[in-house]
Symmetry: C2
Subunit: 336 residues, 2 copies
């Protein structure tokens, strides 16, 4: 019913042993690099394995070795361009280390705890939260899963236990404020996603602190309940429709690129494209599009990914916040 007759994978190490005229245990040794075995026997075993098309059952191996090479990756919002970029890098890096990502999509199906516990029972070697918005039940979860390492990447978190690798959001916010100040902007705004999320808060704090240093103590705040370009668009479109040009902000820092795109879309519709300086965050591939030319802050993606995977491999460095770099394009420029 399922496959076409033959079961080529039913070759077991016993079969190979028989064919090579050795014991099953010798077969295991022949296939494990560091083991002591005479070269002649090893060649004989390898040949037999080849002829029979022997493929070791990794499940059985894992049961013995207590290592599966499986890493659960919890993802929040697949559709987000930044998330897909991160997934691309992360899966590539995991693979290069011989690990495999078991994706847990938490976007629609919010029962995170259940999914992560399942991953744990599956004997995954670790769990990575990739830019996932962390809810409260996460705290209870992390105490249950102590068997395997947990890393939170690209999100901040006050818990001491799981490792956290993310961007130095506070400093980044300050850097962006400086860039915007250079444009001689005077009425500043911050546009974030769901309030309370770590990135929202720290980027805003860094941004406003730097502005305050320059004597600007008032900034307008926008937000939308989802990191969604279209939601951001409608919020900002309404603002533009309701606000006289002379009273509008002239510089806006968006918590991420998706929001920035929405803002730029709204500005395009209202034909005020160079009248407000816009800066995003993440540097998604689209930011380079000729239709947006978005100036944005690029997080240190590769470094964070490397650190994250290192933890999965058993290393235990400290949690870190790392700096990225500004990618200067055109959207932060004010016309006239």
């Amino acid at each position: 019913m399922k496959q076409s007759s033959s079961k080529p994978s039913k070759v077991t190490s016993n079969d190979v042993a028989e064919r090579a005229g050795v014991s099953r245990w010798t077969v295991s040794r022949a296939l494990t690099p560091g083991k002591s075995i005479s070269e002649s026997v090893r060649q004989r075993v390898l040949a037999a394995a080849e002829e029979l098309g022997y493929k070791p059952n990794l499940l059985a191996r894992s049961l013995s070795t207590q290592k599966t090479g499986l890493i659960a990756v919890v993802v929040d919002c697949f559709i987000n361009h930044n998330v897909s970029k991160l997934m691309d890098r992360l899966t590539a890096e995991l693979q290069s280390q011989g690990l495999r990502a078991v994706v847990l999509n938490v976007t629609h199906y919010q029962r995170v705890t259940e999914l992560v516990e399942h991953a744990d029972q599956l004997q995954c070697d670790g769990v990575i939260f990739l830019g996932a918005t962390l809810t409260d039940d996460f705290v209870s979860l992390t105490s249950k899963i102590q068997r395997i390492p947990i890393v939170i990447a690209f999100r901040d978190c006050d818990l001491p236990e799981p490792f956290v690798f993310t961007t130095e959001d506070y400093a980044a916010g300050g850097e962006i404020a400086e860039l915007l100040l250079q444009q001689k902007a005077s009425r500043f705004a911050y546009f974030g996603g769901p309030p309370g999320v770590s990135t929202f808060v720290r980027r805003q704090e860094g941004f406003e602190a730097k502005l305050k240093q320059s004597g600007i103590s008032q900034t307008q705040t926008f937000h939308c309940d989802n990191y969604d370009q279209f939601l951001a668009y409608s919020v900002f479109e309404r603002y533009l429709a309701d606000t006289d040009k002379s009273k509008r902000v002239d510089a806006i820092f968006c918590e991420n690129d998706a929001i920035a795109f929405g803002v730029l879309d709204a500005m395009r519709v209202h034909e005020c494209l160079q009248e407000i300086a816009v800066v995003g965050f993440d540097d998604v591939p689209y930011a380079a599009s000729k239709s947006y030319q978005l100036t944005t802050y690029a997080p240190p993606v590769d470094t964070i990914i490397k650190e994250t995977v290192a933890v999965m491999l058993g290393e235990s460095p400290q949690s870190k916040r790392m700096t990225g770099n500004m990618v200067v394009r055109a959207s932060h420029l004010l016309g006239q």
Copy 2:
């Protein structure tokens, strides 16, 4: 070195059995829904399991049952918005069926065969090629992996063996031709990705066949070696720079939305936005952006995903090509 002392997961079914005063096998039964067991004993076992914090080792279970619930998903180009959309839907659907996706990212690391064989050894229950560009070694691969079902989704393939679920690309191409003919366009073009890929060919064939019916036998063809917005941009930008307005095409069907975005970007730079009717394919979320308002063809994503997952669950329907629907926005309209 790795975790904080305690190993809560070392509770085994033996421990539970002992505590509940039954045998290990009774524990197994108590946790398996359909099994016959007296309610009193079952409650006792469940209570014992709860107290001990027992979590069955799914790896060991899989070794017995010969089912892991793991599905390998081979993905080509993560960054592509359509791919991330498909990944979102597919992982969600798999999860709702109790399955988990093991992602094999083939974008940078092209050793597909190796990765899929590894997945096979891992005892994955199936393999899904999600819109992956299929190379020749794929053919040799599919003969090796006969133990588990293979599905090719969102790509066509002439092989009889693996299941194929994809869009009726030929018909879709025709539908798009009709829409463009209605705009009174007269100089048609097709812009595809890598030549030879199934979607490239069939969409073009359907497009040109329908045009021919209306007496239009000549269409210009563009292509870029990657489904990349920026590559498409540069190709079309050069075309616009080199071609006098009066000689340009006035309707273009792009093999996918990424290419269409590149084309629109180039048109925006050359300020000829409503002079060429543009239609894309895939209906990625971005297509609805106010900056593009892309008219595009939406494949029957949900249906294809459902069929694909059904095969993983053991059903064996016929390969199918299914029709989607046009999403009419503004990019196909000609100004003046």
